[in-house]
Amino acid sequence: MAHVTIDQNDTEAALIEATGYDDHFHEHHHGDKYQSGFIGHYIFSMDHKIIARQFLITGIFWALIGAAMSIVFRLQLGFPEADLTWIKPILGKWIVVNDGIGSLSQEFYYALVTMHGTILVFFVLTAGLSGTFSNLLIPLQLGARDMASPFLNMLSYWFFFLAGVVMFYSLFLSTGPFSGGWTAYPPLSALPQASTGSGTGMTLWLVSLTLFVVSVLLGGINYITTVLNLRTKGMSMWRMPLPIWAFFVTAILGLLSFPVLASGFFMLMMDRGLGTSFFLNEIFINGQALDRVGGSPVLYQHLFWFLGHPEVYIIILPAMGIVSEVLSVHARKPIFGYTAMVLSILAIGFLSFIVWAHHMFMSGVNPWLSNFFVVFTLIIAVPSAVKVFNWITTLYGGNIRFNSAMLFSIGFVSMFISGGLTGIFLGNSAIDIVMHDTYFVVAHFHIVMGIAAFFGMFAGIYHWYPKMFGRFMNETLGRIHFWGTMIGAYAIFWPMHYLGMAGVPRRYYSFETFDAFKHFGPMNKFITVAAIVVFALQVLFVINFFYSIFKGKRMKTKNPYGANTLEWTTPIDAGHGNWDGKIPVVHRWAYDYGKDGKEYITQITPLEEGEVAGDH
């Protein structure tokens, strides 16, 4: 490559034309006949940017449903005496009216809790988060025209969609959706006679999640292949922006762990339908001794958590990647310790496969085995701590722009610290004896992989919204959204630590039976009110989101944030193929902010003569 010096003010397009790589794209650009009609363009699209938006909007749909469910069961917990007859038009027979007072039925309480977990974990924070941003950013930040297989990518979305249809249908069954907890432990999930939700509701739950596994695998194969094979010239692995590293490791985790979950699901299906006994042993239920012996319910837990634990990193790693990028761009500083950040992602990814049994300390597994899981689990604290310190140091000496994306990234770091630290309690099996299955656990995982992951997602949405829709979201509403959610989320989950420390178990329909648990009425009311406020703020976000698609402030320049990565070199309304003409060639890492007195230097800018690369 000839040495080219180009002033920062020159358009990136000229730079790409001068230094880019000619893949003869223009020769078939106009021949993209698959994308010409409305259906091909917006529905069965193979353009990764459209698929990303499909994942995002579907995710928002599910997030609203999942969050609304939590409001209903929070009403039960915060205001157990309140009259809920007014929800009867929506929930029908699940609101039981006695003496004119309507209350939530027990079965539906558990169905709501179960669906809330399933929907948020799988449909929102896996598909909605990783699906959206992996699709959007992997080709754009790597300088690729699309995913390695746009067709499989399209299938990935439609399998997710189908999974959603099946799950949505199960909400309307007369026996209700599955109600045995999102982990679906047998025998409760295996025996229809154990619970009304374990009948058809559970069958559909299994079908839906099996379709979902297919979706994740199709997506994951694509992400991995694209990262390995379609990086543009000059984009070595060690020059990839951190979101890509995160998506890459996330996809590997998904590819290795989801099939194990699927195998567990298949065994559960056979136990349900074919009379096998993988997970059943010596059961007496409904006045009948079952002829099913030799299995072990603990085996299911092993299979489930072999996915389940990597799954929490599948959720949080993309958020970490997004936040790393956003913090760096808006602090106008390189991310601190890029190499350490990558290594810690890899370390967390690796460790996530050998810690699953820390969910099972109290499940009757041999206590001796737990020793190993304690050690591995608490080792994860080290790379996590490194990441936190690096994020904070990224702010040090920065020149910080507080837009909504940046605010949510800072909020993410706060949430990750708060939720991560409580993990040190729970990962230590001795403390887990006390805290297992209490509200302490609820607080821990909601903060560290619920709120934190959502904050990462919001940061990503606000930050890349112009890339997706060519307009900006409203900043004032964004700030209201941030501060309200930040304060509200802590108001919801901080007090739950106290409940847990007092011993209050999770998944209780009512605390009235136990003297030890029933004296937290005011706190439960406070939590419920906070949850309603936070939910209202999310509705505001959704309004802002859809309003801005049509009426938001227009994006006038290609690179509004002065960011270095390649997605900001594409045309504002990039078509399928992302770059007209040549694709950009990369000459440096993604984090040359504030280097050599320049505010930022894009990745496509060649090194000046005698310039030392920023990552060395």
């Binding site: 558990y110 409760l188 619970s195 006045g287 299995g295 106008r332 500083k333 390189p334 601190f336 310790g337 499940s363 009757g364 206590p367 737990s370 020793n371 304690v374 050690v375 608490l378 080290v382 490194v386 690096n390 904070i392 140091t393 702010l395 040090y396 000496g397 722009r401 507080f402 770091v413 706060s414 610290i417 630290l421 040190i424 309690f425 230590n428 001795a430 004896i433 006390v434 299955d437 209490t438 004032t476 509403l477 700030r479 901080w494 007090p495 106290y498 420390m501 007092a502 011993g503 178990p505 329909y509 039976t513 030890a516 648990f517 004296h519 937290f520 984090y591 504030g594 050599d596 920023g614």
Partner: protein
């Protein structure tokens, strides 16, 4: 109507906020976007510090407010021996994580404030520092190593099983939808075997195998478990239908109950219920009325009870699987224990489910031997000539032939009579009123004789023994019921000289 008003208000607020958002955008354009952004940026930077201060006050203040309800000290101390170790590990972890929590939050929000955007400045290019990164890899690693070691010591001590020969009480808790059955081993200290296929709701809730003698003295408790303070308790934990979890919050005990896979948890209560109540007495949270609506109700500490709950989702009634647990002194426990009734003896013995129906059990023979010895002793020392009923002497129907089971009682009688050769006794036979009077008279005489013959064979001197048939003339109960008739058909031993 209220719903409509609420919806209307929500919609209005949303519209106002959206308009506000638009307004700020438009006004920014008028004022000049850069200036507006700068002002906004400075304002947000100040919010960062305000949030930091407010957040830390909220965290520390709320912890102070709730300290008596949740911190592992004072009124919330563990009531078990191992629990103290777990609690102190919790507190240690809270100490370290508390420091990290506060310092990182101060750094996060303070840096955010301090390094807010200044258009005339370029950020400090600081991509990495090996030294710093080594510090914050090594320091967390050292702290974690310390916590892991402490944790594993506590864990392995808590989970260690009973050593052979170690003094302990083993009880069994079985979870099912939606309650617990708690079984105590009875006097033999051993819990009998069970098989889920033998479960009969109502008559055999756990599927106890009645051919196992260990089951014969096992008993159940109702709403209240009682255990002695200072004694190692091993709870064998099982389930009938789905997963449950045996959870004693005050004792830091928690373990899944799994159908077909027994688990266990071992703990030692260190405070009786009465002692725990005394400790709670001093805290305002516990001085509230136990029933806020009833001003006459006792204070909360006075009615405090340890509780057993389920902590593994098991279906719709998961939240209501409550039992009380009362810890008492060893003496009180012994008294309570002696009062408990064996389930088998009370509900199964001599029913169609009893494999030993009509047969004597080893335990019954032993008890009867002890009993008859005592009866005899008191009969000899009494002034009058008393009668002892030979409860376990049986004959084949309509015949004078002794059943095999009779030998246990008669052997004991023979032993006693041989030791007391100065005592003369009369063996009297009695029948019920069924059948012909003469035949009954003859049968009773024959039966008395066959007892005398047996005792002679066992070495009792013949002149100390007299046999007499009373027929149906001396009933001790009504002859109108089978039970009464059964009582009337009897063999008695009467001391006639001593």
């Amino acid at each position: 109507m209220t719903a409509l008003v609420i919806i209307a208000i929500v919609v209005l607020v949303a519209i106002i906020l959206v308009q506000l958002g638009r307004l700020s955008e438009v006004s920014a354009v008028i004022r000049g976007e850069e200036l507006a952004e700068e002002q906004q940026n400075n304002r947000t930077a100040i919010f960062m510090v305000v949030f930091l201060i407010g957040f830390l006050i909220f965290c520390i203040g709320s912890a102070w407010m709730y300290k008596d309800r949740m911190l592992a000290y004072g009124p919330h101390e563990s009531a078990s021996a191992h629990g103290g170790q777990l609690d102190s590990l919790f507190n240690t972890t809270l100490f370290f994580t508390g420091i990290v929590f506060i310092l990182t939050h101060i750094a996060l929000f303070w840096f955010s404030y301090k390094y807010k955007e200044d258009k005339n400045r370029i950020a400090y290019f600081f991509p990495h520092s090996l030294k710093l990164e080594i510090y914050w890899t090594v320091i967390p690693a050292v702290v974690m190593a310390y916590l892991v070691i402490q944790g594993l010591i506590a864990w392995n001590a808590t989970m260690a099983d009973i050593k052979p020969g170690e003094d302990h009480i083993e009880i069994e808790a079985t979870g099912y939808q939606f309650a617990w059955d708690v079984r105590y081993p009875g006097a033999d200290g051993k819990i009998g075997t069970k098989n889920y296929k033998l479960i009969q709701p109502g008559t055999n809730p756990l599927g106890q195998d009645w051919t196992d003698e260990k089951n014969h003295d096992d008993f159940f408790v109702g709403d209240e478990l009682v255990l002695p303070v200072g004694k190692k308790i091993r709870v064998r934990i099982t389930a009938k239908d789905v997963l449950h979890n045996f959870y004693l919050p005050h004792f830091r005990v928690k373990m899944d109950a799994i159908p077909g896979l027994p688990t266990h948890f071992i703990f030692t209560p260190i405070k009786t219920t009465a002692e725990y109540r005394q400790e709670l007495k001093d805290y305002p949270e516990w001085q509230e009325l136990s029933d806020p609506l009833d001003p006459e109700s006792p204070q909360r500490w006075e009615v405090f009870d340890y509780e057993l709950a389920c902590s593994e989702l098991c279906g719709t009634g998961h939240w209501a699987m409550r039992k009380r647990l009362t810890i008492v002194s060893q003496e009180e426990y012994d008294v309570w224990f002696a009062q408990q009734q064996s389930y088998y003896m009370n509900n199964i013995r001599n029913t169609k489910d009893d494999p030993y129906a009509g047969q004597l059990l080893g335990m019954e023979i032993k008890n009867r031997a002890r009993e008859i010895k005592a009866e005899f002793a008191s009969a000899i020392s009494a002034d009058t000539m008393s009668t002892i009923r030979l409860k376990n002497v049986f004959y084949n129907t309509g015949s004078a032939e002794l059943k095999d089971d009779s030998k246990y009682e008669l052997d004991e009688v023979a032993r006693i009579l041989k030791e007391n050769s100065n005592v003369k006794v009369e063996l009297g036979g009695h029948t019920d009123s069924q059948g012909d009077d003469t035949m009954n008279q003859n049968l009773s005489q024959l039966r008395a004789t066959s007892v005398v013959n047996y005792l002679q064979k066992k070495g009792v001197m013949a002149n100390n023994l007299v046999s007499k048939g009373y027929g149906e003339n001396s009933p001790i109960d009504t002859n109108d019921t089978e039970e009464g008739r059964q009582n009337n058909r009897r063999t008695e031993l009467r001391i006639i000289s001593k």
